[in-house]
Amino acid sequence: MGMTMTQKILAAHAGLDSVEAGQLIKCKLDMVLGNDVTTPVAINEFEKAGFSKVFDKEKISMVMDHFTPNKDIKSAANAFQCRTFAGKYDIKHYYDVGDMGIEHALLPEKGIVAAGDCVIGADSHTCTYGALGAFSTGVGSTDMCAGMATGEAWFKVPSAIKFNLMGSLGEYVMGKDVILHIIGMIGVDGALYKSMEFSGEGLAALSMDDRLSMANMAIEAGAKNGIFAVDDITRDYMKGRVNREYKVYEADPDAQYDAVYDIDLSAVKPTVSFPHLPENTRAEGDFGDVAIDQVVIGSCTNGRLEDMAMAAKILDGRHIAKGVRCIVIPATQQVYLDCVKLGYAETFIKAGCAVSTPTCGPCLGGHMGILAKGERAVATTNRNFVGRMGHPESEVYLASPAVAAASAVTGRITSPNEIM
């Protein structure tokens, strides 16, 4: 029986000729990732279990991105613990304030992950690297600990849902709108335990930044991973970043899928997820009149250069509405530097935005933009659960950078088509 892309990568990393959905396997890992929230728990377990070495110091990444630059003494202690461990074991890919970025923007940008890899990360949005054609999934700190010590992880081989993409996106429509549209269609558990596999002629119209933001949110449909077929756009992106051989896997023509959806990209409209679940989507025309207090443009979902470019295009020559706070967070130092060089940073500041060093900060209600009781935010982040960005009675509306920037200008949830 044919295998999906994910099944082929898993089989290869388990040393098997073939695998089938439901099979329990042990895989060799190409990268094990953690951040300043999840790594301390993994280190505690590592030390408690009495491990004295890591499996490969070049195949572990630690990125201090959630509560950094440290917001309080406790988070500083967590980063200190990670820094000390990384120093002791000479971890190659340790990134701290000054060279860190949000992990899921940073690892692809630096070429640390590549097509065909098998990656686990103690962060649910580790599924982002599926955009490169890798198998990549979020796990907890204990799995991270076991991965660091043994270089292996157990998996149940997932079945898959295929998304056959066709057409191309409208002018102010982004990958974020596509993935919100899909989550609205299948629900927050619509792909539970499964792979979401994206392919079709519509791929040619999706940039890497679009794909990264789509794969990033596969977890919001409950998926184990999201994965994109590899094409010239993927290869061009990896060129000059990935300094090692990588392997491209293709789904077998007779691979089995639990469901196949055709997605016409040209029919996708600017889409917003209303509180308190990513599946509560509404398309342009159905936004109603929702006044907002804050806008956040950034995160592992939408803090990349194209996201910044789109926001700058909309904010250029305009000003944030009175009474609205707009926080722009380029996801990596490179994106930040490009924003400065390309004039986006100036555009943001003149428009009245606060521009921050990279951090996950407000996305998870950590710091750098917490909401008060009753406040509403439009955010390019990935979750709008109760209390996600602050007070349990605050609200988060998920949107693309285009919708977020347009909303910042008007002070209510607004389609970019309305003001451009």
């Binding site: 329990l24 907890g140 799995d143 076991a146 539970l192 184990k224 679940l277 917490i370 979750r383 109760v386």
Partner: protein, 160 residues
Amino acid sequence: MKVCGKVHKYGDNVDTDVIIPARYLNTADHKELAAHCMEDIDADFVKNVKEGDIMVACQNFGCGSSREHAPIAIKTSGIACVIASTFARIFYRNAINTALPILECDEAARDIDGGDEVEIDFDTGIITNKTKGHTYKAQPFPDFIKEIIAAGGLLNSLKS
């Protein structure tokens, strides 16, 4: 092994942000985490929960973040087992890896109400609702996962 306790009942899509809000993730201390367990959807949970109680919820329990702080907070609060119709996959993994007992049983999840007294036999997967006089049968774990749980979590199973 059997446990018996009073039920704390929740609905669909109980996410990790309500199990343990990220504002408390600046610590990995188990007791501190447990002190804030469920507070955004059930402010009285921490006050009411007793050692050995059972948590029951519906679809997609534990969706969202990969934070292991979530099963840690639930376990340290005193909960002896979580029963749900389905679990989000990272939470499912984390619960097994950290030896928090969980059971998938849609029938039990739909029938059991908050405050019911429920007994769970982990050897047979039989859940008995003593308040209503109903019994339900949970999905058994595959042997591989049973071994991890029996060893007391993933790291203990790796060592043995």
